[in-house]
């Protein structure tokens, strides 16, 4: 199995290549430079592995939530590659990627992933560690930090930029349910590649280019003339 993954949903810009169990990644924290960097990073990643696009089996991308612009850059790029090479695309949640990284790096068993959504809100998802893989509890959502759902159990680990921007509000809301939190956790293409490969192995099919569109979570982006 050979899979190429990319993510431009947050401040991080990353690409990764999964080749038969081995993952190589290029990762840069470069806000607002994703459009300049991403294709060269993909090119470098393939060149280093001496692989051609035609040798790939699938693509994966961070489908959101995250920066609207970033999500569309990633979606546009995977759509373009998929059209040219006729490859299936596995859309992967950026919140799941954050939870996955927190589980891998800190052995977290329960993760509350939060991405700063601006406008005094967070993108939010609760994940439980199942053999190293994040399993979503309930739904992903966008909401003010004061309103995030309070888990039934304790021992949760917070991860993602939401835990930096709204640390006080989240701690006040969740109290003892959370034992630790790290704001500097971003989704990564390596994690997205791994989650995509697991998905494909368990029977997921991937989607065609036309279906590889972002999941924004925030859908109320304008007021209609009548309701203004």
């Amino acid at each position: 199995m050979k899979l190429l993954a990319l993510d431009t949903a947050t401040e991080a810009c990353s690409v990764a290549l999964y080749v038969d169990g081995e993952i190589s990644q290029r990762y840069r924290l470069a806000p607002r430079e994703h459009s300049h960097l991403i294709l060269q990073m993909l090119d470098d990643c393939l060149a280093e592995a001496e692989l051609k696009l035609s040798q790939l089996d699938a693509l994966a991308f961070g489908r959101g939530p995250g920066s609207f612009m970033g999500l569309r850059i990633a979606a546009g790029v995977v759509q373009g590659i998929s059209l040219a090479q006729d490859l299936p695309i596995v859309p992967v949640s950026t919140l799941a990627s954050i939870a996955h990284i927190q589980m891998q790096q800190r052995g977290a068993m329960r993760v509350l992933a939060a991405i700063d959504a601006r406008m005094a809100e967070v993108y939010w998802g609760a994940f439980i560690n199942n053999n190293g893989l994040p399993v979503l509890q309930g739904q992903e959502m966008v909401l003010p930090p004061e309103q995030v759902p309070i888990p039934d159990t304790e021992g949760w680990s917070g991860a993602g930029t939401g835990w930096g921007s709204y640390a006080d509000l989240l701690v006040r809301r969740l109290g003892d349910h959370v034992s630790t939190s790290q704001a500097e956790v971003f989704p990564s293409a390596a994690s997205i590649a791994e989650l995509a490969v697991v998905g494909l192995a368990s029977g997921e099919q991937g989607v065609a280019a036309a279906q590889a569109i972002p999941v924004y979570l925030r859908d109320q982006v304008a007021k209609k003339a009548a309701s203004r």
Partner: protein, 346 residues
Amino acid sequence: MIVLGIETSCDETGIALYDSARGLIGHVLHSQVELHAEYGGVVPELASRDHIRYLSPLIQQLLAETGLRLQQLDGIAYTAGPGLIGALMSGAALGRALAWSLGIPALEVHHMEGHLLAPMLEHRPPAFPFIALLVSGGHTLLAEVTGVGEYRLMGQSLDDAAGEAFDKTAKIMGLGYPGGPALAKLAEQGRREVWRFPRPMTDRPGLDFSFSGLKTFALTTLQNLDTSASDYQQQLADVARAFEDAVVDTLVIKSERALREAEAQRLVIAGGVGANLHLREQLAVMVQRHDAELFYPRIEFCTDNGAMIAHVGCLRLLAGETQPLQIAARARWSMEDLRAPEQVEK
């Protein structure tokens, strides 16, 4: 050379295939006008979301219709600006990645250059040099065009663009959004010279425009109408006619000046307002007086479309122009920064 063109600068997703040998092979368009009408104007975020949803299906539809495969393409051209940055980025990301994946060159195209050269897509294309009157929702300008990338700006709008003036006045008149075409339609029923609107900036030399005063003039005129009068609809049409006559006259007067100043023999109209039949008629009469010729694109290529982007992209790619491995999109991009493509030794 076969080039795929991608246009996503505002509220239309346009895809086209242009062949340097055969001309336009095919084109498809998805308009978002209805989507934005509910909001009374283009909502940039919704526009971007729509583009990323429709781009791939449209490309596949066009390939199916023309029987071509992506592997037969020699280049990809996409609108890189000016326009809404999120909308541009959607087309740019997909277009640039597609070119990279196919191992063919990509080119960033200036949206207004696309409009400017759109009349060359027709059976009787204008030869260089010509004067271009570019009148769209976002721009109003007169330029002397001596070749691809050789544009001398002669005049432009200092405030509202002509299309914008049409749309804003239409809104004041309750004709919805974007109401330019509806206003033009209503004007057909209007009587001449019931009202006389000013012809802004025609009483002094120069080729600049100013259209923002006309909507205020329309508003004041409307406030003087008796809404309960039995012929109120006729009166509204008269106002529409007076407004349209003022815009058309102004554009004709300045175009005539530009022709004279540059001693040119050809006038080209491009941009959405170029679809206005009254404007076409009046310009035709004017150029005849000067023994000059008038050129315009078919109505559907007056407004945004992929064909004009594929066309410009092909001209420049043929000349050997290329683009680095980056996704390029910029909201602002002055036409005066454009250069003629440097001929590459083949």
